[in-house]
Amino acid sequence: MSARVVIAEDLHLLREGLVHLLRAHGFEVVAAVESGPELLKALTGERPDVAVVDVRLPPTFTDEGLQAALAARRAIPGLPVLVLSQHVEQLYARELLADGSGAIGYLLKDRVFNAEQFVDAVRRVAAGGTAMDPEVIAKLLVSTARHEPLAALTPREREVLELMAEGRSNAAISQRLFLSESAVGKHTASIFGKLGLAPSDDDNRRVLAVLAYLNAARS
């Protein structure tokens, strides 16, 4: 059975583009809305497998979409939501991750350009995983630059950590860095050892642990 999607985006062209893209990749688009209140209704009414939501929506054109997504997740814990935005803020990433249940994506709108990676991210979120924009992770790592255990990582381990924080599995990381999966496994074990985190085989929980660690390190 194909995954059911709700799309919220106020720009007509982009909304249609998303609908086409996701349909072409075998998703069933159950609702494509353009405002915050409509989104909240669609999310709680349709209970989709995943929602793709723009942060800035009518009527206020502030963070309407984000608020609606957070409200829906309070009503339906663990509802998978992929948030799209013209700009990424660590502040928003934190708020999305705050409930610790995962199934969260936060990407720049630019990422839609690369259809394959975007659809991959939607699938990952629908499956309860995490998809963080590389820019969020880069900012996070810049602001934790002075944190000692992180500074002790080797450059390779840092690369692995970045990809891991974005929400990628060991297999994806190995593909990306042209390493064998067992090598990536060794790197992750070493990273978890240096940061003092309990190792976990579950990809999703691993990602959340890393993100929580990074967020804690900077405050």
Binding site: T62, L91, K109, R218
Partner: protein
């Protein structure tokens, strides 16, 4: 006890200082007289400057000793003479090689036409008289001590007088302060003039920095996004030509075009962030600063206590000021931790940024701090820096009247009830002592009419009659006077408050 000792000491010092003003007044008056009668205009500015130095001291002492802050009352000084394109300096119809003469002329005229100069002179002329009054308690005390030493019985009486005089010294000082403020304090006109002067400068600076900002944005767009879009268009054109003949090359070009669009987006994003950060319009100042703190490599603690959102231009100015301060702390101050506190003090927005860096920040040298001042100047904002060498650096930003304009300001200008009661009493009953019990009784007494009727003064014993009649007339006149003067005085206060508005941009 200490209070009276301090008051007596102060009145002694102020009194002695005031006596020396006699010399100053004579000198200055002579200089001014010479400048008019003999045309020695050269003597006028130094005379006025001497006066100003003396009154500046009086204002300072009034603030420190009499608890009465007095601001300067002068009109803003003339702007510097500008050099003409042909290299000459103009003053009216004359041209000069150097700016010295035109500058001097402007200053002379400025001092001469400023009413505050003449008020200064009046104050300095009358000051010795009041100074003598200030010395009275000390003189009586000294005289009493002297007679007591000689064993006169009058000494007792004098002693009582001296104690009374010393007890009255605080009142005397208060009156002296009031009088000083009356002549040396700013008038509505001078306040307005200096306010306009300040606004004029702020407007110029704001317009300047806005223009510079627009130029920067234009340049960024021209070299960045615009150029990339041209490149994307050209690439797509090439793809169109190649798509049938060489699909592989076309595909490679398409990938390039996508990359270029992505770069253009990144650039646009950075540009937008520099103009008005999205998170600021989405969440307001508090969360925007929190987002800023999260992006900073420093450990930043943000506390926000705001009930209402400030106006958007104020918010933006505050945001960029904080952003600049954070950058400074990281780059120059070598700080590890920063504390940002945003709070409201009545209608003022107050921001405190404290860092544990090495200190030594100097607004004179840092162009960043100067830029913040310029940004804040448009909103009457004030930047205060405390940055001793070795740290910590504490920067305080005060934005007056930045928060919602409350309606209560209208009720504040209302007269208090007790004043209304006095006014009503005056208009309602002043006729009673003034006419029947005052003037008419006086006429009855003068024409020696037998009928006493209800004129109560005529029933009193003979020697008391005239004093009571005069008292009645005075009472009636005073009641009428109060009824007229209180509203006038009040509306003058209100007019002064309205004539010097602190916030001009919020009138929607």
């Amino acid at each position: 006890m200490r209070r009276y000792a301090a008051a007596t000491g102060r009145s002694l010092a102020l009194g002695l200082l005031a006596l020396t003003d006699a010399v100053l007044t004579v000198t200055v008056a002579l200089m001014i007289m010479l400048s008019f009668t003999l045309g020695l205009v050269v003597l006028f500015p130094p005379g006025a400057r001497m006066l100003r130095r003396r009154t500046a001291l009086a204002r300072r002492l009034s603030g420190r000793w009499l608890g009465r802050e007095i601001g300067p009352s002068y009109l803003p000084p003339p702007p510097p003479v500008r050099r003409q394109p042909d290299g000459w300096y103009r003053h009216e119809r004359q041209l000069y090689k150097t700016p010295r003469v035109p500058e001097w002329n402007n200053r002379w005229k400025w001092m001469f036409s400023d009413p505050a100069t003449w008020r200064d002179l009046l104050w300095a002329t009358l000051n010795p008289l009041l100074g003598a009054a200030l010395l009275l308690p000390v003189i009586i005390g000294w005289y009493a001590a002297d007679t007591a030493r000689q064993g006169h019985p009058v000494a007792l009486l004098l002693g009582v007088a001296a104690v009374a005089a010393i007890a009255a010294t605080p009142w005397l000082l208060r009156f002296y302060g009031w009088w000083t403020e009356f002549l040396l304090g700013p008038t509505a006109k001078s306040m307005l003039a200096s306010r306009i002067h300040k606004l004029d400068q702020a407007r110029l600076e704001t317009a300047d920095s806005q223009a510079a900002e627009l130029r920067r944005i234009e340049r960024d767009l021209h070299d960045g996004a615009q150029a990339r879009l041209v490149a994307i268009g050209m690439t797509l054109g090439a793809v169109e030509a190649l798509v049938h003949t060489d699909p592989a090359a076309a595909k490679a070009l398409l990938a390039k075009a996508r990359e270029a669009s992505s770069t253009a987006l990144t650039e646009l994003r950075d540009l937008v962030r520099g103009i008005h950060p999205p998170v600021l319009s989405e969440r307001g100042l508090g969360d925007a600063v929190r987002a800023l703190a999260l992006d900073s490599p420093l450990k930043v603690k943000v506390t926000v206590d705001l009930k209402t959102r400030p106006e958007s231009p104020v918010e933006s100015a505050a945001y960029f000021s904080i952003s600049e301060l954070l950058t400074n702390a990281a780059r120059h101050g070598g700080a590890d931790r920063v504390w940002i506190d945003i709070s409201s003090h009545r209608k003022n927005l107050r921001i405190t940024v404290t860092d544990d860096g090495s200190g030594g920040a100097d607004p004179e040298r840092g162009s960043g701090l100067r830029g913040i001042e310029r940004r804040l100047a448009a909103f009457d904002g004030v930047l205060a820096i405390s940055s001793p060498p070795g740290g910590p650096t504490i920067v305080t930003i005060d934005l007056p009247h930045a928060l919602v304009w409350e309606e209560s300001s209208g009720t504040k200008a209302q007269m208090p009830k007790w004043k209304w009661a006095i006014v009503g009493l005056g208009w309602g009953f002043a006729w009673l002592p003034l006419f029947p019990q005052g003037i008419v009784t006086a006429i009855m007494k003068i024409i020696e009419h037998d009928e006493k009727s209800w004129f109560y003064a005529l029933y009193l014993p003979e020697p008391l009659q005239w004093p009571v009649i005069i008292f009645n007339i005075a009472l009636g006149a005073a009641m009428y006077g109060a009824a007229v003067l209180i509203p006038i005085q009040h509306s003058r206060q209100r007019w002064m408050a309205e004539a010097t508005p602190h916030r001009l941009w919020l009138h929607r």
